[in-house]
């Protein structure tokens, strides 16, 4: 075994390294690809009001129970950009790509969920 490795040519080693780097890069990339399809569910008073894709950058005003909150999605992350409440805990939580942001005073919950594995392109109803 040792001898066999010692016998390798420069090209052998270079190839081995290059392949390793490519596959490592591939893992990184496929991780990105897998996160595609993650969904952001915005719930108000416990009812899902919006289901949005985490891949689509957008800003959305959500009417809460006391005031509104502004949900922003950018670069596969979501945050509560602004909210009409006094403590602003939700805004200070910043960007998330998993887990949830809760705005208690307004009863708004923003949840990031792994995308449902489905072959469905759109839903009617």
């Amino acid at each position: 075994m040792k001898k066999a490795i010692k016998n390798t040519t420069l090209a052998d080693r270079a190839l081995f390294l290059i392949l390793l780097i490519i596959s490592a890069a591939g893992f990184f990339y496929s991780g990105e690809a897998l996160s595609l399809g993650s969904e952001v569910v915005v719930e108000v008073k416990g009812r899902p009001v919006y289901t949005l894709s985490l891949d689509v950058d957008m800003e959305l005003e959500v009417e809460g129970s006391h005031g509104h909150g502004v949900v922003e999605i950018k670069k596969h992350k979501v945050r509560m950009k602004d909210a009409q409440c006094d403590n602003h805990i939700c805004v200070r939580q910043g960007w998330i790509s998993r887990g949830a942001i809760v705005c208690l005073p307004n009863d708004i919950v923003v949840i990031v969920e792994p995308g449902r594995k489905t072959d469905i392109d759109a839903i009617t109803g």
Binding site: D121, I123, T124, G125
Partner: protein, 336 residues
């Protein structure tokens, strides 16, 4: 031999690299427009082309949305309603178009779908659980008659004959907007795509793997909060809309009061839970799905067939009825 092999390897590398770029894929964008969520998917070989097309389509939806916004004072629709019983209102071609389609559907469905239902709709508030009294409803019912909508194509005007009449295009506008967006995309060179405005979906072309677009039909009585699919249907170049009693409703005294009101009685129609209609244009499927819902499974299926459309009806007992034409493209989920 050496050179040949080297050439072979080179060629292999080049083809494997160049294949990646020209791959056509699906680009998707979602925007909040027309008080709902609008999603557009397009198939394109270039991200720029896809983005350009989608931006144009969103702009078209937005423009149309402001024309027919029931709640905005400045919309053309509000102007028509304000001028009811007094004078004609000059409007844009799209507004004429959508009202004309609404009236045609009203005629064909014998008034089961009626765009002049506004006065009754105004009495109900499904968010605040407001149920109007019988007397209130009886008073406004005579105002509801699509035959009193006068469309003048030549002068591009619309006139409501009686004072107090209110046009409500909620049952057709989203479908029409989906058609408008699809036409805009096609004009900008995109051959395959899907436009979804709330439950109104218009498809054209196919997916990159040449398969049709798959649309899920929501279970009208899902227990969880996530969307459950009761059936899936494969469409290419067609539109589908669903009218359901679960979209806007409240339950009072064990009765479900929902937004699909029967123009005849002014009360919610109770024969179906959900109706999906398939045809070439989303404006038609939007309006006809409401009509079929009001008419119920028996008369509704007949209407759809008479109009050359397909329909899937889930009646008030949960039984699924469908026109025979769609057996090949429809699959009902097991366990539902």
């Amino acid at each position: 031999m050496k050179y040949l092999s080297a050439l072979f390897i080179l060629l292999l590398l080049i083809t494997s690299l160049s294949c990646g770029d020209r791959k056509r894929s699906v680009y998707r964008k979602t925007m909040p427009l027309m008080d709902t969520i609008v999603s557009i998917s397009v198939v394109s070989g270039s991200k720029d082309e896809a983005e350009r097309g989608m931006d144009k389509a969103f702009a078209a939806i937005d423009r149309f949305g402001t024309l027919i916004n029931f709640f905005s004072e400045k919309s053309e629709l509000s102007e028509i309603n304000r001028n009811a019983g007094t004078r004609e209102t000059r409007v844009s071609p799209e507004t004429i178009d959508v009202i004309e389609m609404a009236v045609i559907t009203a005629e064909k469905s014998g008034g089961a779908f009626d765009p002049s239902i506004g006065p009754v709709v105004k009495l109900w508030d499904f968010l605040k659980r407001k149920k109007p009294g019988g007397e209130e409803i009886r008073r406004v019912l005579p105002l509801i008659d699509f035959r009193n909508i006068v469309i003048d194509r030549q002068n591009s005007t619309v006139f409501l004959k009686n004072k107090g009449m209110l046009l409500d295009l909620g049952g057709i506008a989203k479908g029409y907007a989906a058609d408008l967006a699809a036409d805009t995309l096609i004009k900008s060179g995109i051959r395959d795509g899907l436009v979804s405005i709330a439950g109104d979906i218009r498809t054209f072309g196919v997916k990159p793997d040449n398969s049709p677009w798959t649309i899920g039909i929501k279970n009208p009585r899902q227990t969880g909060e996530k969307d459950e699919i009761i059936a899936r249907i494969r469409l290419s170049g067609k539109a589908i809309s669903t009218a359901g009693d679960y979209e806007r409703f409240f339950i009072d005294d064990n009765r479900r009061y929902h937004h699909l009101l029967d123009p005849e009685t002014g009360y919610p129609a109770g024969l179906c839970r959900s109706v999906s209609v398939i045809a070439g244009k989303a404006a038609l499927t939007d309006a006809v799905s409401t009509a079929v819902f009001i008419l119920g499974p028996e008369k509704g299926l007949k209407l759809a067939q008479d109009m050359g459309m397909d329909a899937i009806i889930i009646d008030s007992s949960g039984t699924i009825h469908s026109t025979p034409g769609i057996k090949d493209i429809l699959s009902i989920e097991k366990g539902n």
